[in-house]
């Protein structure tokens, strides 16, 4: 496709795109190691003049990093597991049972994807308040335990499993529960991992909904704590905010690195037989 003369131009373009993508992250990391004064004087320089860990230490004195991370992890984990489980079960039901109005029910599920969060925010809030789950990670997770995106993706992958495979198990009188866990789930593993990673990262970064539910500082997640450092009331300690951002990015980054083989694979093979 490319001849040798052109290859360099394409690479230039790619390098440019990569730089644009990675620059904000480098900016964040480098500023988190600068002193407050250096940060204001040489904000754009990527290498700190006098590298310091002070920001991290100060952060550790001001907030309980461990609790923050644990809260965020717990919320993201519950949401991810919930979405995966309900998504897989619902998709399997759509895949294997014939019932009246199936298409209609499916369309209702899918149409929920197009309902903006702001519309269901208030009803959800009222329900959670009635359930006495304010200031509780469960309150954040509960309305998010099911997601039509997951149902849709899993159904599409399950449709690629040949019918005869399920039939073979049925002839052997394997109960449906075992067909689901022993045959369907293992086949779907790559897409479960990649969809799960995306769910996890999204939930990890979530801000608006948790701010409504979590008022007590002890129940804060990382994005909420970060808000305290960049809002008008949080002061202007910019390197401190960058340090917290860096901490916040670490776990999703590790998850992405571990599962990137699956994630890339599912992106590049989706839509292919």
């Amino acid at each position: 496709m490319f001849d040798k003369g052109k290859i360099n131009y394409w690479h230039l373009l790619l390098i440019l795109v990569v730089l644009i993508a990675i620059l904000p992250i480098l900016f964040m990391v480098s500023n988190s190691f600068k002193t407050l004064r250096d940060s204001y004087n040489t904000m754009l320089s990527l290498i700190p003049l006098r590298p310091t860990l002070n920001n991290y230490l100060m952060l550790n004195r001001q907030v309980n990093l461990l609790t923050l991370t644990w809260n965020t992890f717990l919320m993201a984990a519950i949401v991810t597991i919930g979405k995966l489980l309900t998504g897989l079960l619902t998709a399997y039901a759509f895949r294997s049972y014939r019932f009246k109005g199936k298409m209609f029910v499916y369309l209702i599920f899918v149409s929920t994807i197009f309902v903006p969060f702001t519309i269901i925010m208030i009803p959800n809030y009222l329900v959670i308040a009635k359930l006495n789950l304010l200031n509780n990670v469960l309150g954040v997770a509960l309305p998010q335990l099911c997601d039509a995106t997951g149902i849709m993706i899993f159904l599409k992958t399950m449709e690629k499993i040949p019918n005869t495979l399920i039939d073979a198990a049925k002839v052997d009188n394997i109960p449906n529960r075992k067909i689901f866990f022993n045959i369907v789930i293992p086949i779907l593993k790559p897409s479960i991992v990649s969809v799960g990673a995306i769910f996890f990262i999204n939930s990890w970064n979530e801000y608006v909904w948790p701010t409504l539910i979590l008022k007590d500082k002890a129940s804060f997640t990382l994005p909420l704590a970060l808000q305290n450092y960049i809002s008008s009331e949080g002061g202007t300690n910019f390197p401190l905010a960058m340090a917290l951002s860096t901490i916040m990015v670490i776990l999703p980054l590790i998850i992405y690195l571990i599962f990137q083989k699956y994630i890339l694979n599912s992106i590049s093979t989706s839509g292919l037989k």
């Binding site: 005869t164 073979a168 002839v171 052997d172 394997i174 109960p175 086949i187």
Partner: protein, 363 residues
């Protein structure tokens, strides 16, 4: 009825998908230990019939009885029926060994007897060296053997096979066919085998059921299916090259083809009218020189030498095409030769019903 096998009975089975009637009041009874082949063109309902025996489809009306009982009542441990699918349907996440083991494990067969059963089957099918491979690391023939093996370890009384050989290379197909036949000779399960390949059907079946449009057109031994087809469909479906069907007229026992007698007058009483006469290609006598009172002239349009036999395409004076097979020949394309039809193997069909009238030519 023995320990290894069971009878299957389909009683007045119909199957309808929405407005589409796939199977129409089908009756079929299969003896214990029999090897029955369901043969028919695609869409004739043979696979649906098999799936109903397997319990994968419920008949709209009618009953499937196994040893006189309904499948649901006896199949609690899942050991009555085993099925091999066209695309093998091996569990892709399990090794060969695990594939064979899975159903036994779910049904709580003890580890020891599980292992001995599986090892024995692996040995018979020459798969011992592959037992730790995943299906994706096997060739088509090996996958097919694993699929058969998965049925064998269950020691089922009934073995259902849905076109198990159609995805294998032709070179391996005959060998796989022999293996299936050997399995049947050794274990004597009841086998129902679906195929659209008539050679496979002829080679394997104790009996063949020829199906078309959801109806069993004929069920009999391979020999009778070939030589005494009950109707035009069966006659045309079985045999390559296809049987020749020509229009003849009976006139007081005389058999007239284009107003010329082509056979000895029949002693069998049939109305004097037009019929179809079926004659298989191998039942032609062709000669350049010899002629008799019943021979007629044809032009050789094409000659295909298959090595084993030679296939001739012939055109009559009235532009009808005939196919004949001969072993020896000394004519050229375009030449005119004399052919005589073998009366004892000819078949007369009614023109409206297509039924074989058995006109008294069989010994």
């Amino acid at each position: 009825m023995g320990e290894n096998n069971a009878t299957i009975e389909l009683k007045q089975i119909s199957k309808q998908f929405k407005d589409n009637k796939i199977i129409n009041e089908l009756n079929l009874s299969i003896q214990a230990g029999e090897f029955l082949v369901l043969l028919g063109p695609s869409g004739c309902g043979k696979s649906t019939t098999l799936r109903m025996i397997a319990g994968l489809e419920e008949p709209t009306t009618g009953d499937v009885l196994i040893n006189g009982k309904k499948l649901k009542q006896i199949d609690e441990d899942g050991h009555t029926v085993a099925m091999v699918f066209q695309d093998y349907a091996l569990y892709p996440n399990m090794t060969v060994y695990q594939n064979l083991e899975y159903a036994l494990k779910v049904h709580k067969i003890p580890v020891q007897s599980r292992r001995s059963r599986i090892e024995a089957v692996l040995k018979i099918l020459n798969l011992t060296n592959y037992k730790n491979r995943l299906p994706s690391q096997l060739s088509g023939g090996q996958k097919q053997r694993v699929a058969v093996g998965r049925g064998m370890v269950k020691k089922s009384k009934i073995f259902l096979l849905d076109e198990p050989l159609s995805n294998i290379d032709i070179q391996l197909r005959e060998k796989a066919r022999d293996e299936i036949q050997n399995m049947h000779l050794e274990n004597r399960q009841t086998i129902v085998y679906v195929t659209h390949d008539q050679l496979e059907a002829m080679a394997l079946g104790d009996r063949i059921a020829v199906m078309d449009q959801g109806i069993i057109q004929m069920i009999d031994t391979p020999e009778n299916i070939y030589n005494k087809p009950t109707n035009l469909f069966v006659a045309k479906f079985i045999g390559t090259p296809q049987i020749n069907i020509i229009e003849i007229e009976l006139n007081n026992g005389q058999v007239l083809f284009n107003n010329k007698p082509i056979m000895k007058p029949s002693t069998y009483k049939l109305d004097s009218k037009k019929y179809y006469l079926g004659i298989r290609p191998e039942n032609f006598s062709c000669s350049k020189t010899e002629r008799n009172e019943f021979s007629f002239e044809v032009m050789v349009d094409n000659i295909i030498d298959y090595g084993r036999f030679v296939q001739l395409s012939l055109i009559t004076k009235d532009n009808e095409y005939l196919k004949a097979t001969v072993n020896k020949f000394d004519f050229q394309k375009g030449e005119t030769i004399n052919v005589t039809l073998d009366q004892s193997t000819s078949i007369i069909f009614d023109q409206t019903t297509g039924k074989n009238l058995y006109w008294g030519n069989y010994e």
